[in-house]
């Protein structure tokens, strides 16, 4: 909430400065921004619907159970798959990750889980395809999946 507040303050401040400098330009900017927002709000809502359904099907307790202590390579694999498919908002995923570490999950499992959550999104893929086209969107997700696995393994080695 705090971060959002900072961001809102920043936006309002920027808008005010912009208004003072050039009123017409600012209004044009607002219009452009609003048009983009209007186009994207329904796809965004669809993502949120999907996320809330997924969180119900795979609740945090289940995730913790399967990724906890001694889950080893299988835990790592599950973390990769679950992290890639879902998009769990930060306010839920960080408590999950911290719970996982406390329960004895390995650093690599937690790292690959968090990284795939952030970098790879099957749920958001339809929207990403609208922006980048099918081939590029899939390629980006695959490359980032690979990067996430490497990150997970390296963190396991370092920590």
């Amino acid at each position: 909430m705090n971060n959002t507040l900072i961001f809102i303050t920043f936006s309002v401040f920027t808008s005010l400065v912009s208004l003072l400098l050039d009123k017409d330009k600012t209004i044009l900017g607002f219009k452009k921004g609003f048009k983009m927002f209007k186009n994207i709000v329904v796809p965004f809502l669809n993502i949120l619907i999907l996320v809330s359904l997924l969180l119900f099907i795979v609740p945090p307790q289940i995730i913790v159970k399967y990724l906890g202590a001694g889950s080893g390579a299988i835990g790592f694999a599950i973390a990769t798959v679950v992290g890639s498919i879902t998009l769990i908002p930060g306010f839920i995923s960080y408590p999950i990750a911290s719970g996982l570490l406390k329960q004895g999950a390995s650093y690599s499992t937690v790292a690959v889980f968090m990284t795939t959550l952030m970098m790879v999104g099957v749920v958001t893929l339809p929207l990403e395809i609208k922006y980048f086209g099918k081939k590029v969107a899939i390629l980006r997700n695959l490359l980032n999946l690979l990067a996430a696995i490497v990150i997970g393994i390296l963190i396991g080695i370092i920590l």
């Binding site: 796809p43 619907i49 809330s52 790292a111 968090m114 952030m118 990403e128 990150i151 920590l159």
Partner: protein, 177 residues
């Protein structure tokens, strides 16, 4: 319902079904529906307090910064300085990955190089300062630092690979309408 009506309604079909499902759940006291409603409202509040302002910034960026200027700094010949600039831009932001796509579109429109667009997306997903703050709080400074330092070179490499692959192909970021 005519075909035209249906085409107009089609984008809203998920939303409409979801609303009917929620109203039904509350009407009949269906508990899973209530749980889903709770997690939906949480994410919804996160989005709606944040995304409209993101688009204000994107709109203002569009009118204030001419293409030539942006292109000079983060375009094809921008080198390491260009990478540094998109990484810093990404670090200053917040919000989920889907909020980065519209920004990627505007960067593309302003002439950013392919590499820098994907480095931006990588940095956006893993290096946002607000997120790093939360991560340090939950997972500790050491974990956050190691993860960040390992991730940074990897998605710069990913950016280079995307550019290598797409250089001779038609690459475009579309405006979603």
């Amino acid at each position: 319902m005519t075909k035209k009506h249906w085409e107009n309604f089609k984008p809203y079909i998920w939303l409409a079904s979801f609303v009917i499902f929620l109203v039904g759940s509350f009407w009949f006291g269906f508990d899973p529906g209530k749980t889903i409603y709770q997690s939906f409202t949480k994410s919804f509040i996160e989005m709606i307090t944040f995304i409209p302002f993101l688009f204000i910034i994107v709109g203002l960026f569009d009118v204030w910064f001419p293409k030539e200027k942006i292109e000079k700094h983060i375009g094809k010949d921008s080198g390491i300085k260009g990478i540094l600039m998109v990484v810093i831009l990404a670090m200053l932001q917040a919000g989920p990955l889907y909020g980065a796509f519209p920004v990627a579109y505007i960067l593309y429109k302003k002439g950013a190089s392919i590499k820098n667009i994907f480095v931006y997306l990588g940095a956006f997903s893993t290096l946002k300062i607000p997120m790093l703050g939360i991560e340090i709080g939950y997972l500790g400074l050491k974990f956050t630092l190691v993860r960040t330092l390992v991730a940074l070179p990897l998605f710069i490499v990913a950016g280079y690979l995307m550019e290598c692959y797409l250089r001779d192909k038609k690459f475009e970021v579309y405006e979603v309408k």
